[in-house]
């Protein structure tokens, strides 16, 4: 395969002038194409002539990762649709990370909702994550049973909701961020419901 690769590279090498004539290598006057202004994706860069021949050779490792303008050939409308969707849910192939804040804690944490199968596991995880910030011994961080804290979340519409009402899948798809709230405040939230 290496020999084949080498011959492909030679055959596809860019040259000035008509094929069959030996011409010097073209100076890099088109090096480093700028990304199209419409593209938000920073990694979107067009291949320069020197790279183009690499693109046509067999097994060139960068090809799989390189982002080429207009490839894969999907309509802009469809691409924008998926970009917007990803931005909304904050989801990506590797996880569903949401911020977790706790009232009174000096900094926030981030967790991957995909790691948990249900609310019990989530609560246990939050428990251990924020243990150091809790006050008193009986801070179980359960919802509504007279404990120190309640777990709430902000959903797609921006509303503050109590964790635990909806099926788990629905929760993970609509949860934008988590907030561990002091019980005193939480009671106010409950009474509204």
């Amino acid at each position: 395969m290496e020999a084949v690769a080498a011959s492909y590279v030679k055959d596809t090498e860019l040259r000035l002038g008509l094929p069959g004539s030996e011409a010097p290598e073209k100076p890099a006057m088109r090096g480093g194409k700028r990304a199209l202004p419409e593209d938000d994706e920073a990694a979107f860069c067009k291949s320069s002539p020197e790279d183009a021949s690499g693109l046509r050779s067999v097994g060139a490792a960068p090809v799989a990762k390189a982002q080429v303008v207009g490839w894969p050939p999907i309509r802009t409308y469809r691409k924008n649709n998926f970009q917007a969707r990803k931005a909304e849910t904050g989801a990506d192939a590797s996880g569903l990370f949401v911020k977790v804040s706790m009232d009174g804690a000096p900094y926030l944490r981030k967790i991957d909702l995909k790691l948990y199968q249900g609310y019990k596991e989530l609560k246990e995880a939050l428990d251990s994550m924020f243990k150091s910030f809790s006050q008193g011994e009986s801070s179980r961080k359960e919802g509504c049973n007279g404990s120190e804290y309640a777990i709430t979340y902000e959903d797609k519409d921006g509303d503050l909701m109590l964790v635990g009402d909806v099926p788990w899948e629905m929760f993970t798809s609509s949860c934008k961020r988590l907030r561990i709230m002091k019980a005193s405040e939480a009671r106010g939230l409950e009474s509204k419901q």
């Binding site: 183009a52 067999v58 060139a60 990762k65 303008v69 999907i74 802009t76 469809r78 629905m170």
Partner: protein, 673 residues
């Protein structure tokens, strides 16, 4: 224009001479008398042209070949006038040579049976008399390239035009390869039509720039306007839509497909007056903004003829339920977001709503579909012919499979590649009537998990023998799979394969995919459209040139080794209309090898190839009826841009035949040689 040829022998045609018998000898008799046309009268109505030609196979292949060189075959029901002259027997075909004896009205009536633009274009070249009859009776006009001809010329030739279709930007504009303000403005067409063809009823535009000003003019200038279809257009906003809604009395169709529409917040939908009851089709699925749902519900309720309604993502299930209640006769439905606040009883209401809608055949939307709501449509799945789930990433493969099992009448399916090979196998089992399949990538930028592979495609090909149209994004393909697919499905008319990793070879043999695609073009004799991908050498183009004689559109990316590849295609594919090439090693020698070919084609696009400025200039010099456009996007650091030499490689070139010469609206980065 070709005048009717005088017969070479001295046969006198005083009376309509009637020949009975098979196609062959009759055709040959007439092939010299009328240089282009044969007329046959058949007792049954609407005989399929192709099957007729096959039935007359005893004529031998030579006659059918003549057909493709510009001869036109008419098959029309017997006219009452001529029924008097001869007896009609089952499957006997009668020929009448004396077309010149027919008055214009009869000729016009015969032309009414020709629906395709190509046939009508052909008959208009037979003789002057037919040209005149045809031009005055033409109602539907198709302009494949808005810069090939001026609007004034089109409308002068076809003053009775009722329906106009115009296409603008080259196809690769869909993938961001054409700069934003390249051209394709619709306004000149609408302005000219307003002056010359105020009876216009339908306008279809694709890949054009349509301003709000254009829409406003459209809304006010055509009192009989009935149908507006905009596909992949841009440049307008909800203000323009408001004009259409307000002023187009009797509007039947407003179909917006995948356009970029600016949302100016105007409640355009509320602009449909209460007197508007004529809507048959309304598609606003591509709009991002909200519409007034109660106005929508009232509109739907008063338009009793509404058969196609495609909602946008802003429409919730609650609204959908109310809408369905008012429009139980819908045939095509785009569902909107298909998700709801869990606290309502939406699911049961949805189920009831769909039970009543037993005319639905075409479903799309499902933007945010939650699995529980998907079950509500199982009752209509068994009558669906078209299902588009390609904008529904939230649907998981198991729910998809459960749904697909019910869809045994499905003819067209669009899905995301999250369906996986497993899901495609389920489709192959359930959907025996499938004709078109499109599988889009769900993970557009990342490498992701290999969702569909060659296995899925092979399964589909063996389960769905009627498959004729394919768009398939996958991570890998093998020659063996393509050869199997070619054997299983010889009826492909559209075959577009996109392997996400460009230049990827067959992963099993590490060979290029030449043999696989070769098998496709060899087996699928009716192939009209082909898109290639994966590692490909010049050999695949040799095969394409040899076998793909009906091919009209070919898309090439990252393929080939030398100029020979492109030359094989240009010399071989005699029906080629559109050729688009990117990132392939074809240069001036290939470009200039067969320059006459480009006048038989609509257009040629080449980007990131080896064509130089000198080559483009040479082409333009040889072929004055082509526009050779070079698109130069400026670089800040590029000093050579002012006076690039002829050796300068051209980044983007667009060549098209035209009657108008260089266009006058070209922006300064487009140079026409």
């Amino acid at each position: 224009m070709i005048e009717a040829a005088e017969p070479e022998n001295s046969r006198e045609w005083s009376d309509p001479e009637v020949h009975e018998g098979r196609l062959g000898p009759i055709f040959e008799d007439f092939a010299f008398f009328f240089s282009r046309v044969l007329v046959l009268f058949c007792p049954q109505s609407a005989v399929d042209l192709r099957s007729f030609a096959c039935e007359a196979g005893a004529a031998g292949n030579s006659c059918i070949k003549d057909l493709s060189l510009g001869c036109v075959l008419f098959v029309v029901p017997v006219l009452t006038k001529l029924e008097v002259e001869s007896k009609v027997r089952e499957k006997n075909f009668r020929c009448c040579g004396a077309m010149t004896y027919f008055p214009d009205e009869v000729v016009e009536h015969i032309f009414d049976f020709l629906s395709s633009h190509r046939d009508r274009n052909n008959v208009s070249t037979v003789c002057k008399a037919w040209y005149l009859v045809e031009q005055l009776s033409r109602l539907r006009v198709f302009v494949g390239n808005c810069y090939a001809v001026r609007p004034e010329r089109v409308m002068a030739r076809f003053p009775g035009m009722k329906c106009l279709t115009v296409k603008g930007k080259p196809h690769f504009a869909d993938f961001n390869l054409v700069p934003h303000d390249w051209g394709g403005d619709a306004l000149p067409w609408i302005e000219t039509a307003a002056r010359c063809c105020p009876g216009l009823e339908e306008l279809r535009l694709k890949r054009m720039v349509v301003s709000d000003e254009s829409l406003e003019l459209l809304a006010r200038a055509f009192p009989n306007f009935k149908s507006l279809v905009l596909i992949s257009c841009e440049g307008f906003s909800t203000d323009g839509l408001a004009e259409i809604a307000t002023h187009c009395r009797g509007l039947r169709e407003l179909d917006l497909q995948e356009n970029e529409v600016e949302d100016h917040g105007r409640q355009w939908l509320s602009c449909f007056p209460d007197s508007c009851t004529s809507l048959v089709s309304l598609n606003f699925a591509c709009l991002k903004g909200e519409v007034n749902t109660s106005a929508l519900e009232r509109l739907v309720a008063r338009c009793q003829n509404l058969r196609c309604l495609k909602l946008n993502r802003a429409i919730s299930i609650e609204s959908l339920i109310k809408i369905l209640a008012r429009a139980p006769n819908l045939v095509e439905l785009g569902t909107g977001s298909f998700t709801a606040d869990h606290r309502t009883e939406a699911y049961q209401n949805l189920l009831n709503a769909f039970y009543k809608c037993n005319s639905i055949r075409n479903l799309s939307g499902f933007w945010d579909a939650a699995p529980r709501y998907l079950q509500a449509i199982y009752s209509i799945c068994s009558s669906l012919t078209v299902l588009n789930l390609s904008y529904a990433p939230a649907i998981q493969v198991n729910d998809l499979i459960k749904m697909i099992r019910h869809c045994f009448k499905l003819q067209k399916l669009w899905v995301l590649d999250s369906i996986g090979d497993k899901g495609l196998a389920a489709v192959a089992c359930a959907c025996k009537e499938l004709q078109e399949l499109r599988v889009f990538p769900s993970d557009v930028y990342g490498t992701g998990i290999a969702a569909v592979t060659e296995e899925g495609l092979v399964a589909i090909s063996s389960g769905c023998p009627k498959l004729n149209s394919l768009l398939y994004f996958c991570h890998q393909m093998t020659n063996a799979a393509l050869i199997t697919v070619a054997k299983n499905c010889p009826h492909f008319t559209r075959f577009r394969l996109c392997i996400l990793d460009p230049v990827k070879p067959d992963p099993i043999s590490n060979e290029p995919l030449d043999e696989g695609f070769g098998a496709i073009v060899k087996s699928c004799k009716d192939l009209k459209r082909l898109s290639l991908s994966g590692l490909l050498t010049d050999k695949v183009f040799l095969y394409i040139g040899m076998y793909a004689s009906r091919l009209e559109m070919l898309s090439i990316a990252f393929a080939g080794e030398s100029d020979k590849g492109m030359v094989y295609v240009l010399n071989g594919c005699k029906n080629l209309k559109k050729l688009e090439i990117r990132d392939s090693p074809f240069g001036d020698a290939a470009l200039l090898e067969n320059v006459g070919k480009y006048e038989t084609m609509r257009s040629l696009w080449m980007s990131s190839c080896d064509v130089t400025q000198g080559g483009c200039k040479a082409l333009a010099a040889k072929m004055p009826r082509l526009n050779v456009e070079v698109i130069n996007e400026r670089e800040e650091s590029d000093e050579m841009v002012e006076n690039p030499s002829d050796m300068h490689r051209v980044e983007k070139m667009y060549v098209y035949r035209t009657l108008t010469g260089p266009r006058d609206d070209a922006p300064d980065f487009v140079w026409t040689f």
